[in-house]
């Protein structure tokens, strides 16, 4: 798999926002590759910087200063012109957000909103409408042709998220980024939506970056998993490796807090302490205040994301922990 060139190659991505007392760094040099056909999950507690990562790939927020490089389709999106970016947005990289209701313009008809990425690119109205209908059909919106004239408030949550998915893929992007696409939905619908995303990405569909704080969704879906904490990737691994043998204590913590059928509710352990905040940075390893395995050393020196040799070929994994070598299953031996 590593031989396939990545469709999206993010290197050392940094993001800063201006705050009252100077710039605040939200992302600290994140590197991640997405290959064609690949489904990658980006996980981490709420506030770890996942959304910032997704949005800053296509520079959605004016207020954020982006550094590093984002290679996509022969261009570096970090330095690309606004014009080039607009080409990439929607057509190169599609985005689905967490809350399907607030993601839709309340006063525009569904059809017009789904067609919009095409209309913007000069696709004739009639054709755009047809394609939008096809996509909605494919995503299981019943009566798509008629429902295109309806307004968002007339749709259920699940249907709305299908519409959002349709908007994101109607222009056939090479990469689909879904930022917590199921968080606002009830459990039954969550599965349907995940199923849809999986179908979308199958045979020739876009590479998918699924952003979630719910590791439970990841297992059956992703090929690889990247774990984010405090604006850094702290572990990247194949999905099986990660579940079988999490190396970072934080990953372990995340896995432990996933509800599992074989465990009683009382055994569910959340990670102790409060999540890191970009506005109150700590020295050393950002996780050390909450880490059971932390040594004194951890408070002073930030561990780098380093490649761990894997027993299996092509399944090298990366982890950023001083004690990665000693840790098995996320616990010190």
């Amino acid at each position: 798999m590593t031989t396939v060139p990545p469709v999206l190659d993010v290197r050392d991505l940094t993001v800063d926002v201006r705050a009252a007392h100077g710039p605040v760094r939200l992302l600290h040099g994140v590197s991640l590759q997405l290959r064609r056909g690949e489904r990658v999950a980006l996980v981490g507690e709420s506030g770890s910087g996942k959304s910032v990562f997704a949005r800053s790939l296509i520079r959605l927020d004016d207020a954020m200063t982006v550094g590093g490089s984002v290679q996509f389709d022969g261009a570096d999106l970090v330095t690309a012109s606004e014009r080039r970016l607009r080409e990439v947005r929607g057509q190169g990289i599609g985005l689905v957000f967490q809350d399907p209701l607030s993601s839709l313009d309340p006063v525009k008809r569904i059809g017009d909103q789904v067609m919009e990425p095409l209309v913007i690119r000069g696709v004739p109205k009639r054709e755009a409408r047809e394609r939008a209908r096809d996509v909605l059909d494919r995503l299981g919106v019943p009566n798509a042709a008629r429902r295109m004239d309806a307004y968002p408030h007339e749709f259920s949550g699940g249907m709305r998220q299908r519409v959002c998915l349709a908007m994101a893929i109607v222009a056939e992007p090479a990469v689909l980024i879904a930022d917590e696409p199921t968080t606002a939905l009830d459990v039954r619908v969550q599965e349907q939506v995940m199923q849809l995303i999986e179908e979308i990405s199958a045979d020739g569909g876009p590479a998918v970056l699924l952003i979630t704080h719910d590791l439970g969704l990841v297992a059956g879906f992703a090929h690889r998993v990247a774990v984010m904490y405090a604006g850094r990737l702290i572990e990247v691994a194949g999905v099986d490796d990660l579940y079988a043998d999490p190396r970072h204590p934080y990953t372990r913590g995340l896995l432990d807090s996933v509800p599992r059928i074989d465990l009683h509710e009382g055994d569910l352990t959340a990670i102790p302490g409060t999540p890191a905040s970009p506005f109150h940075p700590v020295g050393g390893c950002p996780f050390h205040p909450r880490c059971a395995a932390a040594l004194e050393h951890c408070a002073h020196e930030e561990p780098l994301l380093t490649v761990l040799p894997s027993p299996m070929p092509f399944h090298d994994r990366q982890v950023a922990c001083h004690r990665a070598g000693e840790i098995v299953h996320g616990r010190t031996a």
Binding site: R86, V88, L95, E116, E154
Partner: protein, 346 residues
Amino acid sequence: MSVDQRVATYAAKRALACAFIVWGIATLVFLMIKAIPGDEAQSAAGITATPAQVEQVRHRLGLDHSLPVQYVDYLGRLAHGDLGTSIVSFRPVREELTERIPASVELVGSAMLLDVLVGVPLGMLAAARFRRTTDNVVRWVAILASAVPLFWLGLMLQSFVGLKLDLLPLSGSQTIGKESPRVTGMATVDALLAGNLSGFGDAVAHLVLPAVTLSIPFIGFVSRITRSSIVGTLQSDFASVVRAKGASESRIVVRHALPNSLGPIVTFAALQFGWMFSATVLVESIFGRPGVGSYLADSVTQKDTFAVLGLVLFIGTVVAVASAVADMIQLLVDPRIRAAQVGAPA
């Protein structure tokens, strides 16, 4: 019932509410005028009138009846479109109003047009360039514009554009001798109706300075409301989604933010009608235009009950109708409001 029918029902309900508001205004003003100290019959007859003459006038104007009777009389006449007789000119108030209202409507209408055509785009521009130089410039200009005294502004424009540059007429609503036959009472419209192009040009030229003067402070207000309303919308999630589709900033502002922000803008514009009519007094005085402004001021000082009543009723009706129209516009633009007011479509 089809959606069209439901919308029509809603419009009818809204019109009824409007009528109630107008009735309320009529009642309120009637009570207010009665509450002002001073003898109406005395002021109608003049200070030198003999007591017998005062009584004669009191009787003729029906002021000798009890308040409820005066009120019922008044409402009855109102229903027949009779606004009473001015106690100053002894002319039917309706007639006096028809002489003045068209000119004010022409002025307020064109100022409102400028207000919306300039103020809204200005606010959109500022919002699209949120916190950048353009935004800051527009914001300061808007604050200045809404703070500038109308009177001073009018005089400045008049002496600069009218006198120094000699580009536009100084005052009046048309050049004497270029009038068209009176149909609507609005110089511009009458000229068009008469097919009198040079008369139309003349009337428009006379209208430009007063309309610009009247609109400037309001442009300030409208652009600020528009800006803040659109900035709010631009920060909502769906604006990000549209941006992520590859839409340009102007497309987001025009196609998405504006329709979503129309509610507060339209509501505000409707309120402005009332303010504008009251502000005409200064503009009309500077630019020598006939209109309701001076009439209102005059009638109030002279305690011309029925004239004030007629005029306040008119302005109140304008505001009530404008806000009903604003509601209808919102209804047409926003499907959620439509759903809430007339039910979900079939």
